[in-house]
């Protein structure tokens, strides 16, 4: 089972907020298609909390991690790539 972690800031700028909404939407759809994936949302109130998240290499948000490996930072992931990732982990 793959674990997807989406890390966001509690108060991002407008652009990051829009991106975050799109990322959430995308993973909500994935959840329907791949019910076995486990999706976790981490909302950071302070950047210092990043230190507690294993796998974060680039501190740009929203950040998406699959099984502890960061796949995007501040951008909308390519859904096809994410699907490949999920299949690869199966």
């Amino acid at each position: 089972m793959s674990k997807i972690t989406i890390v966001t800031l509690s108060q991002p700028c407008s652009a990051c907020y829009i991106t975050e909404g799109l990322v959430r939407e995308m993973f909500n759809k994935f959840k329907k298609e791949f019910p076995f994936i486990d999706i976790e949302y981490i909302i950071l109130d302070n950047l210092r909390e990043v230190a507690n998240i294993e796998g974060i290499e680039i501190e740009k948000f929203p950040a998406v991690l699959i099984d502890g490996e960061q796949v995007t930072a501040g951008s909308v992931p390519d859904k096809n790539q994410i699907i490949k990732f999920i299949h690869h982990k199966l």
């Binding site: 700028c13 407008s14 652009a15 991106t19 975050e20 799109l22 501040g74 951008s75 859904k79």
Partner: protein, 452 residues
């Protein structure tokens, strides 16, 4: 030259006597008047009050009437989710919900929240418009298209490009109409805020954004107003294409290096705005961090064709003292603080011989406890912790607005404010200690002195 003219000249790429400062106060204005974002974005009285408060607090040269990139999408039928401390977000995309592009109609003042937004804009322009430059922010065509279609747009760019062109063409009409409504409401500058162009490649930008954005900026120019192209995110590869769209100005966030953007903008004769770091500096940094960041931006931007601003709209909880610190830096009130050390060479500051002084000496280095909240709390903590120890402890606040304080700060090796030094040793930086913790540190210092 008044504030408004400073902005207009800078936008027109002219040399100005002082770099203009335009804090992008969006949802942060709600915080300033102590209301939540949902109420703020739905009420023209609150919007007017919030912007007026930002004007009073931050002495800006320009302000946006509103920073909400969802107004057009909502008027076109997308559902929004409102938040207490963020702008609303789009939760459904009309073109995903069964509607076709041909079903959509360009929104007017009667649709969605446009009546509220335009009413607020008119009132803001009539009360502040002679003093400062008012920006009308429209949702840029690509971001609007993304709101309407959702992430499917990224795949349709490859699979059904003609569909995306049809949508962009519709979005161009919406942008032009919204720009016209803002201009008629009295704004000086129309900013097309298109953060999502940072998500596409230069070739996709050229094909799917350039023709539409260029016509929007030309239209704004035909209506006799200035334009700005706002982007957020890592749009480094698209800055040149943005300039080619012929806006008067582009505005970037911290994801694009300012010197890089400056070089390209200079080449195209486009002015530039940016890019104080929103999160690291404005939301979580200290006033000192904000002064340094602003100063760094101003050094790179220079006084020709540059507007100092945050990278995007400021978060709701951005500390007021951080924004005020930037204002101070812009108006030269704290310029000494960040000047090169050599300019302080004529200032002689002798530090006490801490070890041999009879009393424990506490130096509190602040921006100014009268105007900076963390500084105020730190000074209050010192005052409370030293109470009853007057015969053993002496404390002084050094405000870095004064050159001698800056020289003292440098001699002490202090790099952040507010900072507490006890007997010349840096003990607390930025974080305010509890009175009990600080009192214990003072008692330790007294004990140490006794033993010497």
């Amino acid at each position: 030259m008044n504030s408004k003219q400073l902005v207009l000249d800078a936008i027109q790429n002219k040399k100005v006597e002082r770099i203009p400062w335009v804090p992008f106060v969006g949802c942060h204005a709600a915080k300033l008047i102590d209301v939540d974002c949902e109420n703020y974005f739905k009420n023209s009285d609150y919007i007017v009050k919030g912007v007026s408060e930002a004007f009073k607090l931050y002495s800006p040269d320009g302000l946006p009437a509103l920073f909400d990139l969802q107004v057009e999408a909502e008027a076109l039928g997308c559902k929004l989710v409102y938040s207490k401390n963020n702008p609303p977000s789009v939760s459904s995309h009309v073109l995903e919900d069964g509607k076709k592009i041909s079903d959509l109609k360009v929104p007017t003042e009667k649709d969605g929240r446009f009546a509220i937004v335009l009413d607020a804009t008119r009132r803001i322009c009539s009360t502040l418009g002679d003093k400062i430059a008012i920006y009308g922010l429209i949702t840029g065509p690509f971001t609007l298209a993304l709101h309407l279609m959702g992430t499917e747009i990224f795949y349709q760019m490859m699979d059904e490009p003609e569909n995306v062109h049809e949508l962009m063409s519709f979005c161009e009409k919406v942008c032009k109409n919204t720009a016209r409504m803002y201009i008629e409401a009295g704004v000086d500058i129309v900013a097309s805020v298109d953060p999502m162009v940072s998500q596409i490649s230069p070739s996709n930008f050229e094909e799917f954004v350039t023709p539409y954005a260029t016509r929007i900026f030309n239209y704004i120019r035909e209506l006799g107003k200035n334009s700005s192209f706002f982007v957020c995110g890592n749009a480094k590869n698209n800055i040149e294409h943005m300039c080619k769209c012929n806006p008067d100005n582009i505005s970037i966030d911290e994801n694009v290096p300012l010197d890089f953007a400056k070089e390209i903008c200079t080449k195209y004769g486009v002015s530039l705005g940016g890019n104080i770091k929103l999160t690291v500096t404005m939301l979580f940094g200290t006033p000192f961090d904000n002064i340094n960041d602003a100063k760094n931006c101003m050094d790179i931007g220079g006084n020709k064709g540059f507007v100092l601003s945050p990278g995007c709209d400021m978060p709701y909880d951005t500390p007021i003292e951080n924004v005020k610190a930037v204002t101070g830096a812009v108006h030269g009130e704290v310029s000494d603080f960040i000047e090169n050390e050599s300019t302080l060479s004529d200032i002689e500051v002798l530090l006490p011989d801490y070890k041999n002084e009879k009393k424990v000496i506490i130096d509190v280095i602040t921006l100014d406890s009268a105007s900076c909240a963390p500084c105020q709390y730190m000074v209050a903590a010192v005052k409370a912790a030293a109470e009853g120890l007057e015969d053993k402890v002496e404390w002084t606040e050094y405000k870095i607005k004064e050159k001698t304080s800056v020289a003292r700060m440098l001699k002490l090796g202090v790099k952040n404010i507010p900072t507490i030094c006890i007997d010349g040793e840096i003990k607390y930086v930025s974080l305010i200690p509890s009175v009990a913790e600080l009192r214990n540190s003072i008692l330790d210092a007294i004990e140490k002195k006794k033993n010497n």
